[in-house]
């Protein structure tokens, strides 16, 4: 990417939220809060899952989009979060609410530790190293030493929580609101992180590591920490996913899932925070659309949709929105 491009991007990330963006966010939030009144529980379940995937993709976005480190292994952190939640709830009888932070912290530690040796690897080599994580995860979950904890191939069935305090909500509605709240908190934190001094350091490492080092950024520390934070997000997403689906099994976290997260990242917009949510929706709904078009050629249809998406929105959904907003602003200015 050219330097001017990079500058523009970091400006965009650093700058205050533009007015139309604030407006858009508020409208989206109001719609999101009112939605459960209008749609079926099944659709709410899908949206809840899409939001969980969105959080995982945001984690990946922090790592890949803002810090320039590739990962094809985020299914492993998702699995770690999911299993942490499932084991805490099923084996130890701990309330689901507490599983979220614990799943995040466990993933953070693992992510940080994995990030340390991974520092030596760049670009495609790092992608390959993380890919090995994704490939190993399902087998590790089935392995004998871990079986008493993970339940082996059978996985763990957990019980869906009901709404607390006697709220008049179905458990799907409650989980939807809970996940929405987590999304708001996590996305706000991510936006603040990127707009901070730390965020600028992350972006500087991505764009020009030598210059960043010259300016006194501790590259190793920042990179490993980013890995940890990214895993933190993905782990929490995994815990949410497990609670919503009520079941974890090794077959849920194959490398195909890691690739799906990566697809969501690219389609949503690699360095966009809001784009991650779009990515989550894409990951969940587009395979269904493809299957509706043709059962026999679902894979091919999915591929075509993906190519079209990349062709129409070369910088992801977020890039498209950005482009439209700036065009509209320009037209207004010339009037």
């Amino acid at each position: 990417m050219s330097k001017r491009d990079a500058l523009q991007r970091s400006n965009c990330a650093r700058g205050q939220l533009a007015k139309p963006q604030v407006l858009l966010t508020i409208v989206a939030l109001v719609i999101a809060v009112l939605l459960p009144l209008a749609v079926k529980n099944f659709v709410l379940f899908q949206l809840t899952l899409a939001m969980a995937y969105g959080i995982a993709i945001l984690g990946l976005s922090l790592l890949t989009g803002f810090n320039g480190q590739f990962s094809l292994g985020h299914s492993a952190f998702f699995a770690l979060g999911a299993y942490t939640a499932a084991i805490m709830m099923d084996r130890w009888g701990i309330s689901y609410i507490w599983t979220l932070p614990v799943a995040g912290i466990v993933s953070l530690v693992f992510g940080f530790l994995f990030g340390l040796p991974a520092l030596r690897l760049q670009g495609i080599y790092l992608a390959l190293a993380t890919f090995s994580l994704a490939v190993a995860t399902p087998q590790l979950l089935k392995s004998k030493p871990l079986e008493p904890l993970t339940g082996g191939v059978q996985g763990i069935v957990i019980i869906k929580p009901d709404a607390p305090f006697g709220l008049p909500l179905s458990s799907d509605q409650w989980l939807y609101y809970l996940t929405l709240a987590v999304v708001v908190v996590m996305f706000t934190c991510a936006a603040n992180l990127i707009n901070s001094r730390t965020g600028r350091a992350l972006i500087a490492i991505r764009d020009n590591p030598i210059a960043a080092r010259a300016m006194g950024v501790d590259i190793s520390l920042y990179k490993a920490l980013t890995f940890g934070v990214s895993a933190f997000y993905t782990g929490i997403a995994g815990a949410l996913g497990a609670i919503v689906i009520q079941f974890v099994a090794p077959d849920s976290f194959t490398f195909a899932f890691a690739i799906a997260l990566f697809v969501g990242l690219v389609v949503g917009g690699v360095d966009s925070i809001a784009g991650a949510l779009f990515g989550g929706l894409f990951v969940l709904f587009v395979p269904n659309i493809a299957e509706q078009v043709s059962k026999g050629l679902a894979g091919a249809v999915y591929g075509v949709i993906m190519i079209l998406a990349i062709y129409v929105m070369p910088s992801g959904a977020a890039g498209l929105v950005r482009l439209v907003v700036s065009k509209v602003a320009r037209i207004r200015a010339t009037k």
Partner: protein, 406 residues
């Protein structure tokens, strides 16, 4: 002859059905005067997509049923979704079928982890999870899971059949067991031990587990030979089954060899192990093997071929999957016929648990389907077969491994 039998079964069931719903029509979700909505989840993509043929066969069979006028005048609207064998996707698709498409029941969802993922949901929602496509024993637990029922012989039943065979033919056998160390393998071992009863401890001289992550089972095979066993109970998945058969020949161990049904594919396992090494091995079957020349002139086989040619021409006529799909679809048709005009979810389960000596065309002659409110295992009979170097040959009678109302 057979036509007459079918006719009487149908007439009988119609009579039963209509008397049960004499007064009025009662419909559950997904049923109208014109159609019955049936949901299904199959892996059409992903690692287990080979099984997708089963879903396609079932769809083709329902097309045939509809072309011939449907069931009691109602057409089957078969809605089948892909889950890629991924449990989260199974949950999503099951919820879509139940809450959005509003099907009467979910039929033949495939896979053990995938069905486990929706087990509680289906029972909480009181939607039939009927004739699931997995051999695990846990699907026949009507006390705790009233709405879930298996179909194929479960692993424990098969284990009991081997036990019966051994007690009859080799009462003083010394048995060596090789098994995969997971629920599937343990189910088989439990079935054998239960079947042997008090003699199990004396007869079993060695148990060797292996992990799916092991590269080979060579060391286990050497241990088994050294244990002095003269019967080999081989509970392995296809890759390991081929290895074990080969290794036994290499080290010159020639016991009575019992190979589990999971791995008795001639093309997929025995060919790889070498036909000369596999000669004489015993296993079990419950459906007619479409590659067995013995069925060439069998009326039921010909009817199946005609069905395949007309409704599923792209299907593989040498594979057992279309035979399986055809037979399980016929079982559901029988249940729906028995329901008559009382097509509620409750009555579907009642009729599914009320199959009495149901004979279908493609199971081996003598095998019947039986269920009751306490017996949720439709097929529990199999026949011991022996490999003659080319194909499986039936030896001995149809045997039952009934678990009863557990």
């Amino acid at each position: 002859m057979r036509g007459l039998r079918l006719l009487t079964v149908t007439a009988l069931s119609l009579a039963l059905g209509t008397s049960a719903a004499l007064a009025q029509k009662k419909y559950g979700p997904g049923v109208t005067d014109k159609e019955i909505k049936i949901g299904n989840i199959n892996p059409y993509s992903g690692p287990a997509s080979g099984y997708g043929q089963i879903g396609r066969t079932i769809a083709a069979y329902f097309n045939k049923v509809n072309a011939e006028g449907g069931i009691n005048g109602r057409k089957i609207n078969f809605i089948s979704y892909d889950d890629s064998y991924s449990p989260p996707k199974t949950v999503e698709q099951a919820r879509k079928l139940v809450e959005s498409d509003e099907v009467l029941l979910i039929f033949q969802s495939l896979g053990t982890p995938t069905n486990t993922a929706i087990h509680k949901y289906m029972n909480a929602k009181k939607v039939p999870q009927l004739f699931v496509a997995t051999g695990a024993t846990k699907w026949g637990d009507p006390k705790h899971y009233h709405w879930t029922m298996g179909w194929q012989p479960n692993y424990q039943s098969e284990g009991r059949i081997y036990a019966k065979y051994l007690l009859a033919k080799h009462p003083n056998a010394k048995i060596g067991i090789l098994y995969q160390n997971d629920d599937y393998g343990k189910d088989y071992v439990k079935g054998l031990k239960d079947g042997l009863g008090a003699k199990a401890a004396k007869m079993i001289v060695s148990e060797q587990p292996y992990e799916t992550s092991d590269p080979t089972v060579d060391s286990q095979m050497v241990n088994l030979k050294a244990s002095g066993a003269n019967v080999f109970y081989n509970v392995t998945t296809p890759k390991f089954a081929a290895q074990a058969i080969k290794k036994a020949a290499e080290i010159g161990w020639h016991p009575v060899h019992l190979l589990n049904n999971v791995s008795n594919s001639v093309g997929g396992v025995l060919k790889k192990a070498g036909f000369e090494n596999a000669k004489g091995i015993l296993s079990t079957l419950y459906l007619k093997d479409p590659t067995d020349p013995a069925w060439k002139d069998d009326a039921a086989y010909k009817e199946w071929v005609a069905f395949m040619d007309k409704y599923f021409p792209q299907g593989d006529k040498t594979s057992s999957f279309p035979v399986y799909g055809y037979t399980v679809a016929q079982t559901l048709v029988q249940v729906l016929k028995q329901c008559g005009d009382n097509l509620t979810r409750e009555n579907v389960m009642k009729q599914a648990a009320n199959l009495k000596s149901l004979k279908l065309p493609m199971p081996l002659p003598g095998i019947v389907i039986n269920t009751s409110p306490t017996d949720y295992y439709p097929i529990e009979q199999m026949q011991i077969v022996q490999f003659d170097g080319k194909t499986w040959r039936p030896t001995g009678p149809i045997m039952s491994g009934e678990l009863g109302g557990s």
